[in-house]
Amino acid sequence: MPRRNDLHKILIIGSGPIIISQACEFDYSGTQACKALREEGYQVILVNSNPATIMTDPEFSDRTYIEPVTPEAVEKIIARERPDALLPTLGGQTGLNVAITLAQSGVLERYGVEMIGADAQAIRKAEDRQLFKETMQAAGLDLPISGVARNLTEARAAAERIGFPVVIRPAFTLGGTGGGIAYNSEEFDRIAQAGLSLSLASEVLIEESVAGWKEFELEVMRDKKDNVVVVCSIENLDPMGIHTGDSITVAPVQTLTDREYQAMRDDAITVIRAIGVETGGSNIQFAVHPQTGRRVVIEMNPRVSRSSALASKATGFPIAKIAAKLAVGYTLDELPNDITRETPACFEPTLDYCVVKIPRFAFEKFPAADPTLTVQMKSVGEVMAIGRTFPEALQKGLRSLEIGRFGLGADGKDKPVSEAELKGKLRTPCAERIFALRQAVQAGLSDEAIHELTKIDPWFLRGIRQIVELEEELKKNPPGPERIWKAKQFGFSDRQLAFLWGKEEGQIRSLRMKHGIRPRFYMVDTCAAEFEARTPYYYSTYEKPPHLASPPQGGEGKGEGAKKIMIIGGGPNRIGQGIEFDYCCVHAVFALKEAGFTTVMVNSNPETVSTDYDTADRLYFEPLTLEDILNIVEEERPWGVIIQLGGQTPLNLALRLEKAGVPILGTSPEAIDLAEDRKRFSDLVERLGLRQPPNGTAVTPDEALQIARRLTFPVLVRPSYVLGGRAMEIVYDEKDLLDYMATAVEASPERPVLVDKFLEDAIEVDVDLVADGRRAVIGGILEHVEEAGVHSGDAAMVLPPHTLEPAMINEIRQVSLRLAKELKVTGLMNVQLAVKGKELYILEVNPRASRTVPFVSKAIGVALAKLAARAMAGETLEALGFTEEIRPPFMAVKESVFPFARFLGVDIILGPEMRSTGEVMGIDLQFGPAYAKSQIAAYQRLPLGGRVFVSVKDADKPWVAEIARRLAAMGFSIVSTSGTAEVLKASGLAVEEVKKIHEGRPNVLDLVLDLKVDLIINTPAGKATKADETKIRSLAVARGIPCVTTIPGALALTTGIASLLKEGIRICSLQEWHETIGVAG
């Protein structure tokens, strides 16, 4: 069946901001879908609020709406664009939920929009727990015993019938938000209550616990002719009970016989048919009892998912792209397998390697959060590694995580633990459990004992034991070629070997070279070498070559003669380094390809567009360590290597790569060091006659104290060499400073603590610019909404600045350009500054792509990272046609999105430590509506009336009356605690008083608990009342009440609400906004 000719215009809904459980994978799938549909000649209309995505680049759709992914906004887009069809299955759960809402409310019918891929009925069958259960039972499939509840009484009754432990799963949420396992009725009530309030449908499923069972997933595709293929099978190392997003998973399935696997495949096909997903991909999860083999269906995602992105990368089968083509009428046999080109997409990939996916957590950012892994997803990113064996892939994966580990231990970093402690770690799953497994083997625990504690399948435990036993063997014996070969085949890194043998990493490398122990680069080819593959997608492995009659063959990854540039990616998503850097890398690839270069991409993150085999000319799925990159450089011999676009990961390797003879393109590693090294940078600032906040460097608490006394409190303290504001704090007195020195960091002469004078009530500014070595051009100047002290990754920002004086903006501009010139920047640079009164301070300079590059690029309609890549490859900005700063005639607001709802109990106040996972963009002519859109897009519910609770610290009291006045004028009623109430009354405002928590009841907590307030404005008052305030704010998050914690934030919000009341939100496509730049410019 060829493409449908009755469709012309197709709407794709993206997944919005990056949040836990919904990350770059939906940019990858959405980008593939946009490409696939436009290739077929359809007009594509896209809505996604996330500016850091490739899919929202204006050239990927005919109309790109960077608007909130909400039913209201999408309805407006539908009314304006009148698409023929809506493809709901590529925007994650968010996209699916919005589509379902639009179908249920009759919007789709009213505008004659057809849902393609999966219709509303199929989506409901998969998502509605009760309907799913009935459908599965009717199809003859086995499920855990369960009951559905719509209130706590029903829930309790179901739990009683099933017996503890039971699992609670809320319907219609993301990544299992609010779910959990309850072992007793107290736990049960708590989890069930939370689940009911978090579920869109206020519905939870109470289920027989299958915790500890073996867990499997199949990725299935179906076409209109009912052809069904299983693209990939996945087995979880962590058994049932841990969300699959938080589990280490392995592809393909390892411990099922063919008979068992095929029976599961039959079930999966039955599921997709019964649910009625007409075309496209679905993810189906199964649990298998480890002793009886009883197999139950757990759930089905009737859409492209995180697992399908992983499956695509693991097999080379582009699920999202094929899903898009199937949705418009093609059948699997009509589409070619891109990898072989000769064979069709209608087949099941076969692997000749082992793939390991490992989640990346960020608990260090949320010390108050419960780090236990449960059925609710908590990880922020993931890595994938490929090897010929499980131990090799596992160790490669662990060294890809960017957590300072170079494999499974053998690095002296695991602190000795008591047996009791160890057993606790094994029993209660946490992020570090994989390392505890190694320690358990070392401590002499048997595989049986470890299995008993962890329920991890003995096959995986044996793989881990093999690694540990080899580590012991290596430690006891001197290095020799046979031993090195074996170590490399088990995935040991040079760093680990250096540690075990008391040598330097470089010495191990030389030793390897001497003995000819080099990796071979093998292809991910979908077919285990049965057919010749055309798409150069590689992984490294250590295979001893056979003795040959004819001259030796090289690996499969041999380079070619063209001018070749290698781009090092950013690794796993974590807080502080995410999709923004992948965006820049992908742009570099696009721009360099266009300029005729052969591009080579290296990355370890399976969620990304950069690791799509379609993006760069050649793709290496490898860890981003010095060793692994040098191996690829040796194989490819690139003309140049770009390290400034993948964030801090590749940047940190700059000097060492250069020292190893790697040709680094762009700003020199020497200049990078000048900007990154605190001392050298201070000298530079001084030499240029610029201003920095007064500062000092301390190793001991005493030194810190002396510096702080000199600078006067408050001071900003942080360890040197950190990312995303890790362990950065503002301290207000000596006691706090000493506490910080004692607990927060381990200072040493190599890693001193930096102490800066903290600039109170200053306005922070970010500048992104691009330079070619001689000329620098400003990309954008962004003014932070919140005052200085809030990490730039967390702050809301406005482009162009909305409160700064033109003279100050000009000074910012001149200072930034001067710094770029001084550092001879070639490529991108980001400057962070603070304006206090009339004074301008330089906070830091990052000679690399920054998190705001995609946002700025979207705002000004110029792809900065593309220009940067071309400049690094030797072109001038003049030749590239970018010589003038663009000042858009509209306002663009960036707002951050936080994972607080997942980490209940964590205080939500913003500070110098970054904690947001993603961002959204709102554009409008004025600040008010642009800000309002950004808040709606960030799922901050903006009340248009009702009751506001206001309580601010003393220092903020001068401002609070103005805010309250604005709110009152819009019809809000105000409620406050005594101190703030006094101020408001004095200003002549009507205010209702409520007790503070320690003043008795009913108090403010009761108001929040009973949802009697619609908005909370609460700025942190400091230590004394911190515990009380944290309770209020954290409860507000749990109850879904918007909570603002800064005065500037509150002011902005009132402006936003005012504009919403006046005119609602208006929608406009990015292409149209960009046209206004042309007109204005």
């Binding site: 699997l332 069709p344 096959w459 070498a529 001893k544």
Partner: protein, 365 residues
């Protein structure tokens, strides 16, 4: 572990570790791309004369159980894997793969680069090889590989067919079962099992049984099984089948399909490296429906060589080779792939029902 060598006729020698039994064997080296099902593959009599290399590198993970066998013991000449699992983990397993191969005196090698081997076989075609734990002289091993017999023209069926007719033990799943005479060319056990499940009473007969004896059994249908080697090496069987044409409904699988092709006057030819795996897409030409199929064959029927009475019904989507055919007048059909799967996807199970239909109504669809 002891050293082991795999030497190929082109001069390539892989060095690895021995598992299973010590010894030295020769055979045609082929690769199989199934990620699961090594136990079924090892016991499939069609692999007689062949050394099987698994492209999936991690083998032995779930051990060996009592149920998933296609014949009483391993049938391959030798077995090649990248990494043998040190333990078996599965609730049904009885012993490890290593223990089982040792017990059945099957020579195996692990720790070699099976992807390099696969690439070589893809480029050069199936090669003769020697697998040895006894001889460490690489030159001599290559010589031995070069002088080994190979498959073309050889009758390997006589080594694996049953000695005399017998009734298949399982009870048919029907009140009035149809009687099927199944010619055992090295038949996988799952085939009579599927026939029985579909409602047949199965009499298994040796491949050498003459046509008149076969017809004297008065079966409702004749089944021609899979088996090892070159169909042209079996002139006696071709003759038998030719004598039954038009007299009985006939269903052939794999070698049985090739025998039918030859009996109908067609030709067969050797594929470069054959189809051995569980992911081959096959299209039913009439409906356009696709099945993901299990395959294991080194020879194929040349569809152009067959007369007008025969129509090609199924096509391999990877290389467009003939995967199924049907006679336009007589109740005869066959498939090149394995509808019984085992190992492999179950998409093609329906062919057994098709055979029942054929026997009942005389129609081939």
């Amino acid at each position: 572990m002891a050293r082991a060598f795999l030497a190929l006729e082109d001069g390539t020698v892989f060095e690895g570790e021995s598992f299973g039994a010590p010894g030295e064997i020769s055979g045609e080296v082929v690769f199989n791309t199934s990620m699961t099902g090594y136990q079924e593959i090892l016991t499939d009599p069609s692999y007689r004369g062949q050394i099987v290399a698994m492209t999936y590198p991690l083998i032995g993970n779930y051990g060996v159980n009592d149920e998933d066998v296609e014949s009483a013991q391993p049938q391959v000449e030798g077995f090649v894997v990248r990494a043998l699992s040190p333990i078996a983990s599965n609730w049904r397993h009885r012993r490890t793969l290593d223990e089982w191969l040792t017990q059945h005196k099957t020579v195996a090698i692990q720790g070699i680069d099976t992807r390099a081997l696969t690439s070589l076989l893809r480029q050069q075609g199936a090669l003769r090889g020697v697998l040895s734990t006894l001889d460490g002289d690489r030159k001599r091993l290559v010589e031995k590989a070069r002088s080994s017999p190979g498959l073309v023209g050889r009758d390997l069926v006589k080594e694996v067919t049953c000695a005399k007719p017998f009734a298949w033990g399982e009870a048919p799943a029907a009140d009035k079962p149809l009687h099927v005479a199944a010619v055992d060319c090295g038949m996988k056990a799952h085939i009579p099992r599927m026939l029985t499940l579909a409602g047949c009473r199965v009499t298994v007969v040796p491949a050498s049984m003459a046509a008149d004896q076969l017809l004297a059994l008065k079966p409702d249908g004749l089944f021609l099984s899979n088996g090892p080697g070159d169909p042209e090496g079996l002139p006696y069987l071709i003759q038998t089948v030719r004598a039954c044409l038009g007299k009985l409904p006939i269903f052939g699988i794999c070698l049985g399909h090739q025998i039918l092709g030859l009996a109908l006057g067609g030709k067969t030819y050797k594929l470069k490296f054959g189809h051995h795996g569980a992911n081959h897409p096959v299209m039913e030409i009439e409906t356009g429906k696709i099945e993901i199929t299990a395959q294991n064959h080194g020879f194929a029927v040349d569809p152009r060589s067959i007369g007008d009475e025969v129509e090609v019904t199924h096509l391999n989507l990877n290389d467009k080779t003939c995967e199924g055919m049907r006679h336009k007048k007589w109740p005869i059909f066959s498939v090149q792939y394995h509808p019984e799967a085992s190992p492999g996807p179950h998409d093609a199970h329906h062919h057994f029902k098709r055979f029942i239909h054929l026997m009942k109504r005389g129609e081939t669809t």
